[in-house]
Subunit: 368 residues, 2 copies
């Protein structure tokens, strides 16, 4: 265990929480590379020592004992890590698609990957296949629990179901904390809300629950990427997150507004004129005694992936969700009509980092 | 992976389902010992070959290619497995306390343990400590996911929370499929049931949802054992399942009836005279707008473990449980007021075996 070396990229919300968790791990691997967009900290070669103190990297960056560099290419990072005197692991705490497309470079050199970055697993199917082929070739491991539901045991549970020979027939759930909050507030089970859709969106934006541009949540793309990952693990060859229907909650008339601050402001200003459309959707569900929720589903037998609005019985687990929780239901042959359900916070720096740290521990146990 | 050897004890419901799952695993370890109460099948020494075909062991038992023996002692089994030409794993699919108390013997010899048998982890605290000390000494692994919630990811989730440094403050849930069914039927959220308690117990017995002697479910001991295991993983030094209050649902007046067929029959006959007691408990909850459920809880800060009846809000996840499902809520510092929840079937041969098989795969990955 002492002979495992770690490179970490990204020091945003998840990255910082991860480094704090890493600093508290007993028998932590040696942190020898820490990169952010413009700067890279490295343990000096050829000794790969001293290591970077994970909990105190900012102060250490000011000392002469570590090597500093500008941004390194994935190839340079892979070369540095693979020359370390032991097995090495790359933790990618970014959401960078370019870095994700380089995973095969790392894996072929025997560097394992641990990441919450969805891009490598939810982009073109060829990249997915190349990642796992490269891992087999390099005898390296790939763990990515936090790509779906943050630290909730979603990926691991699905992999266990598949590996033990269960037949997963359907996966369905609420995969976005933002959209969970919007619909739990807009259309609560109690029916007691008169809030307009645009008001709920504005409130969520105010509370910091949405991306800076709420359209990045409302377009459904984040949910589509998560569904792509789950569908692939369940055995479907999904070409990409754009190869199945995604119901966007951005009114077509507002889709072409620019992503600038001015465009966002225009979007928020014009959204109220579409409130009657969302009210009609809500009332349509109410008439059936149901509520509307934004969900994703994979029907394995029909090879169908869907992302969009659906009506749910008021006593269903999905309808009863609170706050910005995620819920994921696995219907399988063994579990029958009552699914295996995982529920809880599906976003946030600490819980996302927890999934990364738990994965790291498992990779260390397998390499160690 | 090809150099891992497997001994399996127990061919009951879980054992049989496990052997069928094992037979379908790619790169399965070699099954070299299969024991049931009176008979043991062995791959012949010194070659430890041919292996026993997991899916077809009954037919193989009739061939001369395998060695047959009567029941072997744990020491004899440990000696046989530890002499195999590779790492070995014992899968204990029994609920035998004597075998569980011998886990240290196996572990010290480097034999890993995978089991759904609660006894080793929920009996005296000294045995719990000895098991994990012996594992460290023998560099062997111990996995026991199916001891709580069958194949649901309960143990693994709790271990991940603890290992990554989260603070688990409270664990609560419904841990018995039988008691789940009894209360979901007796006191449904809809309030629409007029069934008497004794009728519900009789129905559950009829359906095979209870143990042959329903008192083995109603005494709460099975739930207490599961809570003992969770509390210990969360860091509490619980002496045993009898060191905290357990609310038994067996009326004191009927507790001394013998466990014979006649005693069971007398119990079922006399149970209706206690229906008014259970009706009062149900109505007491109704008056508060709540429902009553049989739950277990661990309060980590207060170092308190409790097993018994509690009232729950009708819109709570525990109240809304269906069929004989389990639900386990983990309250932690990181997850805040909305817990991480795992829900689904917590009993049954196939799903229990799934937890065992998934554990086996993880042990193989770590040894391989």
């Amino acid at each position: 265990m002492s002979n495992i070396y770690l490179g970490v990229i990204g020091v945003g919300g998840v990255g910082t929480a991860f480094l704090n968790q890493l600093a508290r791990l007993p028998n932590a691997p040696k942190l020898i590379l820490l990169a952010r967009s413009t700067q890279t900290l490295l343990a000096p070669t050829p000794a790969y020592s001293p290591a970077i103190p994970a909990g105190d990297w900012k102060a250490a960056a000011e000392t002469p004992s570590l090597t500093k560099s500008g941004a390194l290419s994935p190839e340079e990072i892979a070369s540095y890590l693979s020359s370390a005197p032991g097995r090495s692991i790359l933790v990618d705490n970014t959401s960078d698609p370019a870095l994700a497309s380089s995973y095969p470079v790392f894996l072929r050199k025997g560097i394992s990957i641990v990441t919450p970055n969805k891009k490598g697993f939810s982009s073109d199917l060829s990249l997915w296949k190349e990642i796992f082929a490269a891992a087999a070739e390099g005898k390296a491991l790939v763990y990515h629990e936090s790509t779906v539901g943050a630290g909730l045991p979603v990926i691991s549970t699905l992999r266990d179901l598949v590996a033990t020979g269960d037949e997963v027939t359907r996966i369905e759930g609420v995969f976005s904390g933002t959209l969970s909050f919007l619909f739990n507030t807009f259309a609560p089970v109690s029916g007691a809300s008169n809030a307009k859709w645009s008001e709920v969106v504005a409130q969520a934006k105010e509370l910091g629950y949405t991306e800076p541009d709420p359209r990045d949540d409302l377009n459904g793309m984040d949910v589509a990427r998560k569904l792509t990952i789950l569908a692939r693990i369940a055995g479907l060859e999904v070409q990409g997150p754009d190869s199945f229907p995604i119901e966007s909650l951005i009114p077509a008339e507002l889709a072409s507004l620019p992503s600038t601050a001015d465009g966002i402001s225009q979007f928020m200003t014009k959204l109220p004129s579409f409130d009657s459309q969302m009210a009609a959707i809500k009332e349509g569900a109410e008439k059936q005694g149901k509520v509307v929720r934004y969900v994703g589903s994979v029907d394995v037998a029909k090879k169908e992936v869907r992302v969009g609005l659906q009506q749910f019985d008021k006593d269903s687990a999905i309808a009863g969700l609170k706050g910005s929780d995620n819920i994921i239901s696995f219907y399988t042959k063994r579990y029958g009509s009552n699914p295996l359900i995982v529920q809880g916070a599906g976003a946030g720096g600490e819980v996302t980092a927890m999934g990364v740290t738990a994965d790291l521990i498992k990779v260390i146990q397998r390499l160690g």
